[in-house]
């Protein structure tokens, strides 16, 4: 808050102006989320009021009941959980090993590996859907959760490696070296010194990877059949030929978004720090 302290001396009078502008940002940025939750709890007839009230008009759970009825909800959620948790569990271990390799070792080919990992991240996932679809089809992994898990792994791995690298390089090498001078093996130094310092970063990266896997849409749509759909695809059930049931759809959206947003609130500070730490040093 030191910035505020210095600003406060000279511009105490203009603080009100900044705050008004800040409130405007607050309202604009928050409105879509507010409106989603507001619609979700609204009686269905108020949701299609041609002159809608901006404030909550009532509190009902009808839309949630309707959302749960419209198509199986817990099946898709369960499948999404299995996929996302597996992706994270595998991704974080594999990613950490790779991150250690590129941040703590000098070896021939290191640069190529880094370029490769960065380059992979730049290939838009959508471009790969055709060959991945054909590949999984050939391997008999179409409509299988394992196929989806392997595919998502390749999406989160580059990001995981790059982010963890940021966390690793922020841990002074001297700490590790001191432990080794004191008689620790390289592995011992890592487990006793680096790992505890890295833990918060690992948690944050895991949660972020989880969210990415959970939110993926296109591959879930293309690689899974209707009866094996995941949570994001489930949300499409509200739009039929006859129109869209908006109020239950907002209830469904709320159910999908709230757990993810809460998770996100818990870890984002760590994530942002990890992402920029490496950058500022450059």
């Amino acid at each position: 808050m030191s910035a505020i302290a210095t600003g406060g001396r000279r511009r105490g009078t203009s603080r009100l102006g900044w705050n008004l502008l800040g409130l405007l940002v607050f309202v604009t940025a928050g409105f879509p989320v507010y409106w989603m939750v507001d619609t979700a709890f609204k009686p269905a007839k108020d949701a299609i009021d041609p002159d809608p009230s901006l404030l909550p008009t009532g509190l009902t759970l009808d839309n949630f009941h309707r959302a749960l009825d419209i198509a199986d909800f817990w099946g898709p959620v369960g499948r999404s959980l299995i996929v996302s948790l597996s992706v994270v569990a595998i991704g974080i271990v594999v990613g950490l090993l790779a991150a250690l390799a590129i941040s703590r070792f000098a070896f021939r080919g290191r640069k190529i590996v880094i370029v490769g990992i960065l380059a992979v991240q730049m290939v838009p996932a959508v471009s790969m859907i055709i060959p991945v679809f054909l590949l999984l089809n050939d391997l008999g992994q179409y409509d299988k959760l394992t196929g989806l898990i392997i595919t998502y792994l390749t999406f989160i791995l580059p990001f995981t490696v790059w982010t963890l690298r940021g966390f690793v390089v922020n841990i002074p090498r001297e700490l590790e070296e001191a432990a080794m001078v004191d008689g620790c093996s390289r592995t011992g130094a890592f487990l006793r010194v680096v790992f505890p310092l890295l833990a918060p970063g690992l948690v944050a990266t895991s949660v972020y990877g989880f969210i990415q896997a959970w939110n993926e849409y296109l591959y879930a749509l293309m690689l899974m059949s209707q009866e094996n759909q995941t949570a994001t695809v489930w949300l499409g059930n509200f739009t039929t030929k006859h129109g869209t049931e908006y109020a239950p759809m907002m209830a469904g959206s709320t159910m999908m978004a709230v757990p993810i947003v809460v998770l996100f609130l818990l870890v984002q500070r760590k994530m942002a720090a990890g992402l920029t730490a490496g950058a500022v040093k450059g």
């Binding site: 505020i4 800040g22 290191r110 991240q121 838009p124 060959p131 791995l157 908006y246 984002q268």
Partner: protein, 328 residues
């Protein structure tokens, strides 16, 4: 910036000398020369997965785009035969393709610029508002950042609904505006503008939070010194803050370019899975060719051209990322 740029080594302006921040630990890694296999062992699982599930399809994408591959090849009724550059000449000779390319570039550029400018302004604003408001704004930003793209798209669809959408109702309250029943998606440019708003709304929080974190690292003394030397607010920003933030800005722009060129679900879901011709961006166009027209080869050719185009755009920034990787 064209695809041709990928073939020539990226010309990057020489890095501006880093603002005076001492970097005590330069590249200092000896001692590992004898342990050469260790890093490769650590890397092995990661590389294995990437090569199998990313490398192979990438190669397949290339071979596919030189074949004739439609429904009958998919079911194995006919072998896929090579057709040379036919797919590419068909795609490149198609006026619609070029319209899509242009639309995608304009759309992505709009998203990136809009995101970065709004993000920077909000980050600077956050330094000047009261603590409680800063917390509130941060919570809202993180909430909208964390919103699954599909949920956000669904919500925007509801906000912009022609009959019951809140936006039309609110805008119609303004004097002289009558928008009840207005369909925002009747025309491509207007619909894409709404989608751009959606993309920017989702992307700004990441930029704001990252830039805010970066701003806290700008040494107070430097800003104060610049002020004492007579720099005004803009001068301080331009000559002190911006150079220090440059690595972050470059990184954010890179990521934004990648993400915004890859926009797919927003358009796809907003148009109920069947984007009209006016809404097609490169990604949806490739998808459309492959899975709607069932010409997988042509779809692959378009996807490949997209990747090349993107590499051209991003090649310049890649070096910056590498520099970050080099430092430690």
């Amino acid at each position: 910036m064209s695809a041709a740029d990928t073939t020539t080594p990226a010309k990057v302006p020489p890095p501006r000398p880093a603002p005076q921040r001492a970097l005590p630990d330069g590249p200092r890694r000896g001692r590992t020369a004898n342990g050469a296999p260790v890093p490769w062992l650590l890397l092995a699982p990661c590389l294995l997965i990437l090569v199998l599930v990313m490398g192979y399809p990438l190669v397949r994408l290339v071979t596919l785009s030189f074949q004739k591959f439609g429904q009958s090849q998919l079911w194995g009724f006919q072998p896929a035969e090579s057709v040379g550059f036919d797919n590419f000449s068909t795609v490149l000779g198609d006026g619609e393709f070029w319209a899509v390319v242009l639309r995608t570039i304009v759309f992505a550029a709009g998203c990136v610029i809009f995101t970065m400018v709004v993000g920077m302004l909000i980050a600077l604003l956050l330094q000047r508002v009261s603590g409680w408001l800063k917390t509130l704004i941060n919570i809202v930003l993180v909430a909208s950042w964390g919103m699954p793209v599909i949920v956000a798209t669904t919500v925007f669809k509801w906000l912009f609904d022609s009959d019951y959408g809140i936006l039309n109702a609110l805008l119609s309250k303004l004097p002289g505006v009558e928008l009840i029943g207005h369909n925002w998606f009747a025309s491509g440019p207007q619909g894409l503008a709404v989608i751009m708003l959606l993309v920017v709304w989702g992307a700004v929080p990441f930029v704001v939070i990252t830039l805010s974190a970066g701003l806290t690292q700008v040494p107070q003394e430097l800003e104060e010194a610049a002020r004492l030397d007579g720099a005004n607010g803009w001068g301080v920003f331009r000559h002190v803050t911006l150079p220090i933030l440059k690595p972050i800005i470059v990184m954010l722009t890179t990521l934004s370019v990648i993400w915004d060129m890859g926009v797919f679900p927003q358009v796809f879901v907003m148009r109920n899975g069947h984007p009209e011709q006016e809404f097609q961006l490169l990604q949806t166009y490739s998808y459309d060719r492959a899975f709607v027209v069932n010409d997988y080869a042509q779809g692959s050719a378009i996807a490949l051209l997209t990747v090349l185009l993107l590499l051209g755009v991003v090649a310049v920034y890649m070096r910056q990322m590498l520099k970050i990787g080099e430092v430690e």
